[in-house]
Symmetry: C2
Subunit: 200 residues, 2 copies
DNA sequence: GTAAGTTTGCTAACAGTGTTAGAACAGTTA
DNA sequence: TAACTGTTCTAACACTGTTAGCAAACTTAC
């Protein structure tokens, strides 16, 4: 008898409607604003029904995190398959990765736990300005010293900052590993590449 | 009459005791666990008193964000002053920046809005594994092709990943700027540097 | 020294959050 | 029809940020 099957189908329907409703809310108002009650309202069920399908709110988010990585993987994979040469593959991956991040901000923020202070907040911190000025100094000087003096200091600042922040963020993500020497090496790599990129 | 002065002093004392208590709670249990009521308990005042000193919870966090950038700036400044050569300055800044981030995790997380999924969460995502494997492929191949084949693929992966994630994070921080061409250039810089670093 | 005014701090509430116990109802089976 | 199983709800608990309104204490003026 198909009763059991129908029940499973119905349950599956509710489950996916939860995810659909949650995603809609996230796209509308961001992760911070997502709540179980809002999801329940949207799917026209009472709150405890959601807990029949997911252990807790975190489990719902975890589901999306996995979805995000699956999509990212698919796009990176596609990029790799466009060429057999590793050099071109690496370039293509980078573009695919960036494209994914900017086209799927919600996913990317969840995947990497980016809480994202608002523009408002950022603008209130004048120390951030002095920070960028601080680092711009040496960069400007290095550019002035070099023959290839057409480099843009502001661009170089962003490159430098991205390097450092990326290294730290990725590290904090999977903390527990013993990576001190590795960080040291990566940093050396970064810096020497950065400096020689300016000196040319 | 010193009455007004005493009152100002007392008010200042309460204000700084709020910040002290808040910081203690953050170090103990992380940003997520910080609450106005816990602060009120710790300073042995009722909740509304806190709102006499700060507009809201965000204002307290903003205070710490500023503190964080002030400390970072101070340490970067110190690093710069150790040498007059831009090259060495840039290197010293990088080390100072990293040192600050790892020695002041709480500050850094707040400053860059890092929500930080727990290790637990990260380990549950097997897609992350396949993601790293995906990218390791081309990197391994490029290393194999190159003469300088003693490069560590895992290290190179981390370098690559940090580059990309850093670029994205810094971008998402101050969104609103029109930086598409800049990102393009930074990325080109990164990739060419990365590849030639492996090919050597 | 008493009366008026100001400041300070409190209780108690509002509106929201995640989560769960327990009752009520429906659908299925014997 | 009666018993059982599973689904779904109401209502609560323990939190969260935030604020209105009252009461007590302290300061000032008469």
């Amino acid at each position: 008898m198909g009763i059991a099957e129908r029940k499973i189908r119905q349950k599956e329907e509710v489950r996916s409607s939860i995810l659909r409703a949650a995603w809609k809310l996230v796209v509308q108002d961001g992760w911070q604003a997502l709540s179980i009650r809002k999801i329940a309202d949207a799917i026209e069920y009472s709150v405890p029904v959601i807990y029949d399908h997911f252990l807790n709110k975190e489990a719902i988010m975890l589901e999306f995190t996995k979805q995000g990585f699956q999509q990212l993987n698919a796009q990176v994979d596609k990029a790799i398959k466009k060429s057999p040469q590793p050099e071109q593959q690496i370039e293509a991956i980078a573009y695919a990765y960036l494209k994914f991040a900017f086209n799927n901000k919600e996913y990317y923020q969840l995947m990497y736990g980016l809480g994202m202070p608002t523009c408002e907040t950022v603008r209130q911190i004048e120390e951030l300005h002095s920070f960028t000025e601080l680092i711009l100094g040496p960069i400007r000087n290095l550019i002035a010293e070099s023959k290839n003096s057409k480099a843009d200091p502001f661009l170089k600042l962003h490159t430098y900052w991205s390097m450092l922040h990326g290294l730290i963020s990725i590290n904090m993500l999977g903390e527990g590993f013993n990576k001190d020497e590795m960080n040291e090496m990566i940093l050396k790599d970064f810096i020497s590449g950065f400096i020689s990129g300016i000196k040319k």
